[in-house]
Symmetry: C2
Subunit: 374 residues, 2 copies
């Protein structure tokens, strides 16, 4: 197992579905060792995408060989379009053809797309195989690899088909983040900042002071990732199947998803974390307009997101946006709708967000119209 | 709710996934009432097949209308071929197009095919909607509607893709069994007899005395169904995700599935319960040959299954069967394989079955060769 004790361990406490997240540098090199120790005797199938395969697949396969972990590898195209039914079906079929059993493991090596897709596949083949996540983006390390949400997109929207499927193990290798583009790194950082804004003002203030170390790969990076995983794990442990407060994790996301939908998920125009960044600002502004959030808090949030290079305004999205009606439709089709009433995460200030299920369409439309400059 | 108190209630005790099975005559007529009381405010989508729709859909829809339960209806073709990826995808898509939410319900009206398929769909749309089962065959009432196993077939085998998804409610209307063909009724009866053979000799002896009342629709029918549901519920409650003793429910099924596979699931030649009937006899004969089961118990099992009109020998299956190698492959690809060793349910006599994970391929092959008359 981890001998050098240079890694940080975060336990996600979900009763008999509990699992460890190990965070540290060069963990992919030790993946074979970890898996053979924690899932003795399990065969594996690695699922990764073309882009990640180029950088990290050989390291992982070498590690499996060295530890005697049996594996096959399935490579999918890179990009959000991969989270679709056709590829989901093909992966299920390929794994069955390999004759893997329930006790064998699907190992997801990649970002959120690979993790979400692989987790769904692992959740349904033989009604559930073991699942190991090796997230290779900051976004996946602090967000999608914690909490067990898996899924694919439908033509009706993102992540509308999937299962809750907790992994057996997550290995967050922080050194792979060195190969991320600055834009992708910032995108993940938006989710890190979110944990401060939800319910942990001190973490937000710490980020204001320490963000440079996080971006440059100092020890602050591992600390920030571990803190984020712990924060998410705590929310998930309290509400695994999203019947209540887990919705807090959607701070900025209802707005963010509608922006992603508005640009048809064209990542040249907007990546997820950028949508979340603008969405979090909108959530603070909307809350401020309703007399909930002090203006100085909104300002401080905008200031920090700007400082790290994240967009904070709708007009920073290149190209034309659709009319207000499209946004209202996208918001209504978001999973966070319950019995026709919109569920929004609003805030009383930095670190004091809450779930509001009584938001009416009219003031929301008026607010968005103003923001969209119509 | 149930006012006339003529129904029997069986509770499946699975912590926060517990649910009631209500068993009685004319329950479809009261389905709207039950659903509006137990899932207040939920919209519904009814999934049924062409054959069942003809007999029972209007009754169900009228009941929903009378109780103000909102519904849409999706009709799939009848037959095992419906449990495939393409139809699974189309149903998911259709439900999303209806804009149903997580709190809304998928209502499965039909036999095992409709139940398994609908349960899988309900388990993945928005990562899980509510699910109500209205099983219309004896097989579905005593077996597939209890325990939460859902799924579809793959070209690699039956039920290889799916999820564990417990329903919120099961309504087993025993009067619909009046429209079943005698062959389909017998097929379900094989599973009823199985519960006696697993661990309840007294129930088996009771069946020997009372089977005629069950077949003719006397009060013994409801009693037998309730007893079977309770028996299965107890096994499932002890091992929801099939990590151990739940495998007991597979008594006769490893042989049975291989026979179904051998005839390519052509139901003109063999239906599921017939495969289980022959499979249970084989399990007793194989156990007898290993010195585990007294010959008089094997004989008694054969006698009773014969009496009710079920097949008990491989040579009763019309047409030619494939060579022994095909059977061994089918058995090896059955989900009940773990780390290469075959998991079989063997028996020490009527009502004393147990899970044996040490069965070797060689004696099994010799036994089957003899039975196949090679």
């Amino acid at each position: 197992m981890i001998e050098e004790s240079k890694a940080t361990l975060v336990n996600v406490d979900l009763g008999d579905r509990s699992y460890p997240i190990i965070i540290g540098r060069n963990l992919i090199k030790r993946a074979g060792e970890e898996i053979s120790a924690r899932l003795p005797g399990s065969k594996t199938v690695i699922i990764t995408d073309e882009a990640v395969a180029k950088f990290h697949l050989k390291t992982l396969e070498d590690s499996f060989k060295a530890s005697g972990v049996e594996f096959n590898t399935l490579i999918v195209p890179s990009g959000e379009q991969t989270k679709r039914f056709e590829i989901f079906e093909r992966l299920c079929d390929d794994i069955l053809a390999l004759r893997l059993e329930r006790g064998d493991a699907v190992v997801a090596l990649g970002g959120g797309v690979v993790g979400d897709l692989s987790g769904f596949v692992a959740g349904v083949v033989r009604r559930g195989m073991k699942f190991v996540q090796i997230p290779t983006t900051l976004l996946a390390q602090v967000d999608s690899s914690v909490g067990g949400k898996t899924g694919i997109n439908s033509r009706h929207g993102k992540n509308l088909l999937g299962v809750f499927n907790q992994p057996a193990l997550v290995l967050a290798d922080t050194s792979v983040l060195d190969t991320l583009s600055p834009r992708d790194f910032r995108s993940g950082y938006a989710e890190v900042a979110k944990y401060g804004l939800i319910n942990d003002p001190d973490f937000f203030y710490w980020l204001e002071q320490n963000w440079e170390g996080i971006f440059s790969g100092g020890p602050e990076r591992e600390e920030a990732i571990a803190h984020s995983c712990r924060a998410k794990a705590a929310v998930v442990a309290a509400d695994e199947f999203e019947s209540g407060n887990r919705a807090l994790l959607n701070l900025g996301h209802t707005f963010g998803h509608s922006l992603e939908g508005a640009v048809a998920y064209e990542t040249e125009r907007l990546v997820h974390g950028e949508g979340v960044s603008i969405g979090m600002v909108l959530a603070h502004e909307f809350s401020e307009q309703m007399g909930l959030c002090p203006p100085e808090d909104t300002k401080r949030v905008i200031e920090h997101l700007k400082t790290v290079g994240l967009p904070t305004r709708v007009d920073q999205i290149p190209g034309q946006l659709p009319p207000i009606g499209t946004f209202m439709d996208l918001i209504a089709q978001d999973k966070k709708v319950s019995r026709g009433q919109l569920t929004f995460v609003l805030t009383k200030g930095i670190g004091t967000s809450y779930v509001d299920k009584t938001v009416n369409a009219e003031p929301l439309r008026a607010f968005l119209e103003e923001k969209l400059g119509k």
